[in-house]
């Protein structure tokens, strides 16, 4: 098997993720791990969003909603537990293996309802209707005084993972990285399946796919729900890393940033969204640490990527020809 340029860079990205804990030991600071954990979590969202935007041409401008729903699912269960009113009177909600799937379920359920209504529209109208629903959820959480409203909710500890504490930065990083790997694998499997083929086909020509007898709407809805569930998982991880959630997780600015990550990284490629999430977070945090006028540098950088790298950073890295 010939090693393509894409292959080489994929291995480089993977190695970079694996090397993080060792880099932390060398540098004597766990911050590298904290930062890489954030990158991994956002990368999950970006991968899930690319499944919609890149592969299926469904530009969701409300993806932060599912991220937020996942986060709030974890935080609200923890809140009830801490106040001795566990949901359904059951203390198991502190276990990650229960709380996180619950978060995915809640986010997926939200995506099911929103997707079912939104997928009646297409193109720019789809962009805006997904935004509308996300905004409604945003204002809902701002208004929910019981759950902290605008100030959000704090978690006193992270969830237990199979009964073990995951306060250690390294342990938590490996968990997030594993979650990212699983999501990437799943996304790869899906897109190379018949299901993925139909999605891509429908993105090119909906009419043809419908004529071939595929229920395009149902396929798209399924993709929307799967992407929502992945974003929900990322939200649950984010809530655990930061130990708080706030309506800020669901804001339209956040949805916009997710989109920017995916586009900047490169659409319709497995690794592109991961690269986009990493580039966005690392460059933004580096610049804002360097100057208070970071926007004046970061803005033009984003602009240049848009103009000169039509296939995103990943597309530029792996060069022409390779797909």
């Amino acid at each position: 098997m010939k090693l393509t340029r894409t292959g080489v860079f994929t291995i480089v990205v993977a190695l970079a993720f694996l090397a993080v804990p060792y880099a932390a030991t060398l540098l004597g600071s766990n911050y590298v791990i904290t930062l890489a954990t954030r990158v991994a979590i956002y990368a999950i969202v970006a991968v899930s969003l690319d499944m919609l935007v890149g592969r299926s041409n469904l530009v969701s401008f409300g993806h932060a909603a599912y991220f937020g729903l996942g986060g709030y699912a974890v935080a609200i269960s923890a809140f009830h537990l801490a106040n001795d009113v566990p949901i359904f009177g059951w203390a198991g909600t502190n276990e990650a293996l229960i709380a996180w799937p619950l978060a995915m379920f809640v986010a997926g359920f939200g995506a099911l309802i929103i997707g079912a209504l939104s997928l009646r529209t297409a193109g720019v109208y789809f962009i805006m209707i997904t935004l509308a629903f996300a905004q409604m959820l945003f204002f809902l959480f701002v208004a929910l005084k019981y759950y902290g409203g605008d100030d959000g909710l704090s978690l006193s500890t992270r969830n237990l993972f199979a009964g073990n504490r995951i306060t250690d930065a390294r342990t938590f990083y490996w968990i997030c990285l594993a979650a990212l790997a699983i999501c990437l694998l799943l996304s790869w499997r899906i897109l190379n399946s018949r299901f993925g083929m139909v999605l891509r086909g429908a993105a090119a020509s909906e009419r043809r796919m419908a004529a071939l007898g595929f229920p395009v709407y149902r396929y798209r809805l399924a993709a929307f729900v799967i992407a929502g569930m992945m974003a929900g998982l990322a939200g649950a991880l984010w809530a655990n890393q930061n130990r708080f959630v706030s309506p800020d997780m669901l804001s339209w600015v956040r949805s916009g940033e997710f989109l920017v990550m995916v586009i900047m990284g490169g659409l319709s490629s497995l690794v592109g969204p991961v690269v986009g999430a990493a580039a966005f977070l690392l460059i933004e945090s580096y610049l804002s640490g360097w100057t208070e006028h970071w926007q004046m540098v970061f803005g033009p950088f984003v602009l240049l990527v848009a103009v000169f790298a039509p296939r995103g950073l990943w597309g530029a890295l792996r060069g022409k020809g390779d797909v």
């Binding site: 409604m136 208004a143 989109l259 586009i263 659409l267 006028h293 803005g299 033009p300 984003v302 602009l303």
Partner: protein, 304 residues
């Protein structure tokens, strides 16, 4: 009864301000197929240039042309330097590029003009009231804003439907080759349209200067609402933008005016106040979702 009338007027006034913003966005969006997230930045630039000119010259009447010129020039420059390279690309490249522009403009204004909100006062000629009905005074400035909105709507309608340039604009959107065959430089036409859209955003920016806060980030506060308006109306349609602005402006104002009151007849005081506040925040999104579920391409879909 008088209160209802006053609130209707408030709604109309908000609608017409929204229309100024939406008209430019829908032109650029519908005709050139460009999603310009930085439309709000042009509104901010108009307001800043206006406030700056007003502070230097002491009169609003010079602020107005300054704001218009600044927004139109920046708009034209944006088209020539950035947007032009992206016509052939997917919408998403435009989203990325104009997102970068938002960051840049916000950073640039904070760096050059400072972070303090700027002073911009109502022109003395318009600072009084007009008694529209006996016992119902209405601020003259808001009436003037409404007048400007109506004038712009009529002007645009005339330009699009009755003039040669309007014909070219209409044709340019989907029959590029034909327009070029007529010997028209379509690139120039697009620069012109983009600058016109920017000018309208700048006009909105200067006009709201005396009643809102001229500050960094003011563009993003109106951006989403503007998108809501053009989507509800049907993208690319000036008529749609007008209808959308009316619907959204009215629903927003009347929601804030009467929903809490209606809730109060059912619920206890504080609960109704809080819930009413929450409901009136989401009302425009609710309206948009409903419109799109019933009419997936907006109220006035543009054919093609």
């Amino acid at each position: 009864m008088q209160l209802v009338l006053e609130q209707l007027l408030n709604g109309l006034q908000l609608s017409l301000t929204l229309f100024l913003l939406a008209a430019g966005l829908t032109l650029v969006f519908g005709i050139m197929g460009v999603i310009n997230l930085a439309h709000g930045s042009l509104y901010m630039i108009g307001a800043y240039a206006g406030a700056w000119a007003a502070a230097k010259t002491g009169t609003f009447w010079l602020a107005l042309p300054a704001g218009l010129a600044a927004a139109a020039l920046v708009g034209a420059a944006m088209e020539l330097l950035v947007v032009r390279r992206l016509y052939a690309r997917e919408h998403l490249s435009q989203v990325l590029a104009t997102f970068g522009l938002i960051l840049f403009f916000n950073g640039f204004i904070a760096w050059s003009a400072g972070r303090s909100p700027l002073l911009m006062e109502t022109p003395p000629q318009l600072s009084g009231f007009v008694e529209i009905l006996p016992g119902l005074p209405y601020p003259a400035y808001r009436l003037a804003m409404m007048g400007v909105g109506v004038a712009v709507a009529l002007g645009l309608w005339y330009m699009i439907s009755r003039t040669r340039i309007g014909m070219l604009i209409r044709a340019g959107s989907d029959k590029r080759e034909m327009v070029e065959a007529l010997g028209v430089d379509i690139a120039k036409l697009f620069t012109l349209v983009f600058a016109l859209g920017a000018l309208l955003a700048g006009l909105a920016g200067v006009m709201v200067g005396p009643i809102r806060s001229v500050q960094v980030g003011m563009g993003e506060q109106v951006l989403i609402t503007t998108f809501v308006v053009i989507v509800v109306g049907g993208i690319g349609s000036i008529r749609g933008a007008f209808a959308g602005a009316l619907l959204i402006g009215m629903c927003d104002t009347l929601g804030r005016a009467f929903v809490p009151m209606l809730l109060k007849s059912w619920l206890s005081g504080p609960l109704a106040d809080g819930l009413g506040g929450a409901l009136s925040s989401v009302i425009i999104y609710l309206v948009m979702a409903l419109v799109l579920i019933v009419r997936p391409r907006g109220l006035f879909p543009v054919s093609g």
